[in-house]
């Protein structure tokens, strides 16, 4: 992909971005920020502040009403349908409402991004089982979403978002339905991915997690964005330490 060859260019770049739904008021106002490759951010802001909306601009579900969004170095409004589809395959999304396919079991739900990408079935079997075991669902491979608890569904949704090793991972409140121990375990999963080069943004209300991991925060209030926290690397190092400790 030509955009990955530009190593220095940000994974995502927002320039004067405003956004509103149909005829409603602006929910995002003059947003300006960059996500460097390999960075890890939390996204915070009270309910209705626009977190999901901002993420949706990054996973190409919405286009900005004003301003310009660039992904992987390319302006999203200039992308062809094919390019958009290819970009989307590089982006893993954990939806706030999970959006699991109810007619598919946990295994097939997680396998979906691989199938869309045309991965061989033998590889799919191996990777999916492994990952579902990692999130503690090795016994629920064949369970349908309706047969899973909220937290279990959330873990399936997370597994589906990361199975592809995306370049950009966007997680919308991915730990809202699990206890803090499981929340930390899931964050380690994101950290593992981050160590392999994935840029991560996690929207969350969980203050414990934010304090525990201490990544910089993209904070939204009334549609405006500010960056809280300092140099990213420091946090990644800290997180790596934590991760190593967590695995002992």
């Amino acid at each position: 992909m030509k955009e990955t060859s530009k190593l220095s260019s940000p994974i995502a770049e927002f320039n004067g971005v405003s956004f509103r739904y149909e005829t409603g008021p602006d929910v995002l106002k003059d947003i300006q920020f960059q996500l460097q490759p390999g960075s890890f951010h939390f996204m915070t802001g009270e309910s209705g502040a626009g977190k999901t909306s901002l993420l949706s601009l990054m996973y190409l579900d919405n286009l900005p009403t004003k301003g310009r969004v660039r992904l992987f170095g390319q302006a999203v409004d200039t992308l062809s349908r094919k390019e958009k589809a290819r970009f989307r395959r590089q982006i893993g999304v954990v939806f706030q409402d999970f959006r699991l396919l109810s007619h598919l079991n946990a295994f097939d739900n997680v396998a979906l991004p691989l199938r869309i990408a045309g991965t061989k079935e033998s590889e799919i079997r191996r990777h999916v089982s492994e990952l579902l075991a990692w999130v503690g669902l090795e016994k629920q491979l064949r369970a349908y979403p309706a047969e899973l608890s909220g937290g279990e569904q959330q873990r399936v949704a997370i597994a589906r978002a990361v199975i592809n090793r995306p370049q950009l991972l966007l997680a919308d409140e991915p730990t809202g339905n699990v206890d803090d121990t499981m929340a930390k375990r899931l964050l380690y999963l994101f950290l593992e991915l981050n160590k392999l080069g994935t840029t991560v943004v996690i929207a969350t209300h969980n203050q414990n997690l934010i304090k525990y991991f201490g990544f910089p925060r993209l904070h939204l209030s009334k549609g405006h964005l500010e960056l809280l926290g300092t140099s990213n690397n420091k946090y990644v190092d800290l997180a790596t330490k934590l991760l190593n400790r967590g695995e002992q």
Binding site: D61, R88, L101
Partner: protein
Amino acid sequence: MTKKSDIPFSDDASKYFVPWMSMLMVFIATLILSGALVAYSSIQTWTRNISGSLTIQIPTFDLNGKDRQEAVKTDIETAVTILVTTRGVLGASVLSDEQMNSLMAPWVGENTDISRLPLPKLIDVSVDTNNPPDLTQLKADLTEQVPSAVLDSHRLWLENLIQLATGMIKLVSVILVLLILSTAFTIIYATRTSLLVHQPVIALIHMMGANDFYISIQYAIRSFKQTLLGSVIGFIATLPIMSGFSYFLNEVTEDFVFNTALTYEQWLILLSVPVIAAVLSFLTTFKTVSLYLKRFL
């Protein structure tokens, strides 16, 4: 593990609708097409049986056995005038007594004076086969001006049959086009309904980076299978009806009036009906889904 489709087709209402509809459409299409093929073969046979000449008889005695020598002369003159002015008639000549003699010799012997027999006068008409006269019109003209004239009716009857069969083939073509159109519209409608029902799933798969092809092909393959299933059943259902009808035609009509034996090529044409239906269904569905995705996602 058997891979389940990403799109939950199994809870579609159209799952039964499309096979049933294709069954009915292919059933009808195959039946009328086989009718048209029989008509076509029969026309070939009939055309071979029509020669390039035509005969008109002018009786020399009326029904009461009274000699009508005088009337015959004017009748022949009028008939010949009508004939030579008819488009498609190359020439008309009255058979001479010698010609009549040689024609009748096998039956009455060489030396019989046939002028004493109540034989009609024969007018031999040569016809331009590439541009044949309108026999119905000719017959009407003759009967009006020469009521006694008798037009060789076998040829007229065959010509009428050929016209009927040709008209039937045209009608079948129109019905086939209508069947194809209505099938296509039904498939478009069923596909659109299914797209609406599965909108959230499709939007999700689309958002995960599925190309339009990935989604369209799943729909198209499903449509193909459904239509093929219905079509094959519909086709098989026509077989007993076709053989029954062929038996009936051969029983009630003279031998070889209808040419009901289908040739190898004609069987291929009939067999192509279910295949064409399934392929059409595949293409229509693929296009419908592609357009929908481009338009709404």
